[in-house]
Symmetry: C2
Subunit: 195 residues, 2 copies
């Protein structure tokens, strides 16, 4: 987890703190204004603009680093839900709630269309695989129809989570209730009376 410079040596403690601060503040600033300049980000982070350039070679490099950071957190959010050991329905609820929370904190970054950094791509693929695995287990457990297309299912699941995040952004709702809505809608749709 400790970042290293081109030098090979690890960053000093205060420098690593600075890097983290910049990443988090950049997410906040860019989610409000995607065209914000590095100067705005630096100001919001309470550092000089040159410091941002010292830590990130270019604007692209900064956004790439944000992507790596964000996807790692989403992956973590999935892992703590034990997607391959916990009962599928339990894991589904838990993971949904965790991912909603994680993605809410990185809306700009995870919304970026293209991933340039290979590590970000790799993390994204791992997330993708874990999601498929979870849905596969749910299908085998009878939660999902045996005929359900897992690819379409994954897309629908993803879309529902996105909507839940937007709901949370406009009217701060209980994360667990949101997760319940997502899972319930995914499994049962909205056409029948719910339990």
């Amino acid at each position: 987890m400790t970042e290293t410079t081109a030098n090979g040596r690890p960053l000093r403690a205060d420098a690593e703190r600075t890097v983290r601060t910049i990443l988090e503040v950049a997410e906040r600033v860019l989610s409000e204004d995607p065209a914000a300049s590095l100067a705005q980000i630096a100001a919001a982070a309470g550092v000089a603009r040159t410091t941002v350039h010292r830590r990130f070679a270019s604007r692209e490099a900064l956004i790439d680093a944000m992507a790596v950071h964000a996807f790692r957190q989403v992956e973590e959010a999935i892992d703590v839900g034990r997607p391959d050991t916990a009962p599928p329905l339990v894991a589904l609820h838990q993971i949904t709630a965790n991912v909603i929370q994680a993605k809410s904190s990185w809306r700009y970054t995870v919304g970026q269309p293209q991933l340039r950094d290979p590590e970000a791509v790799a993390a994204h693929e791992r997330i993708f695989a874990k999601c498929h695995l979870l849905l596969g287990r749910a299908q085998q457990a009878g939660l999902l129809s045996p005929e359900a297309d897992l690819d379409w299912t994954r897309r629908v699941y993803h879309a529902l989570i996105e909507q839940a995040i937007q709901v949370q952004a406009s009217a701060s709702t209980d994360p667990d209730a949101l997760a319940a809505s997502v899972v319930d809608t995914l499994l049962n749709g909205l056409g029948r009376v719910r339990s």
Copy 2:
């Protein structure tokens, strides 16, 4: 439908053609690169950059005009499905297919977060209202659970359409089949065996 200049007089025929071309090409270019410059858009449209500035006072004005154009087309896509007279299930299928097609052609524009132009806002609100009306009719007809929250239902419906558009973008599928998937998923979810 005929645009007018600040002068009050209608545009000459060739000028109106140019305006339409710029709007459509801008959508295509910006959907591939949201940060594309006006010079890139002008080049792609086969006109001089100054012509773009002549027709649209600023970059913002261009994007606003695109929004108005796009939302009018989406509204049209809804209207031809007769949302307030056709049987709810029929209208739902028809409108879903139409809207998927219309939105596919204006992905960048309809994906814009904030609408500045009052006419675009108005069109958006009309679309919103028509959607609610359709879902209300579907609920009264027994297609949707009486307890279903229409606001959440609209969000889910919207999200499913977005996913369908992405599917269509990656692998060009039959629009009607996509619409069927969307409606079926909305009503029944993915947990039970489908007919």
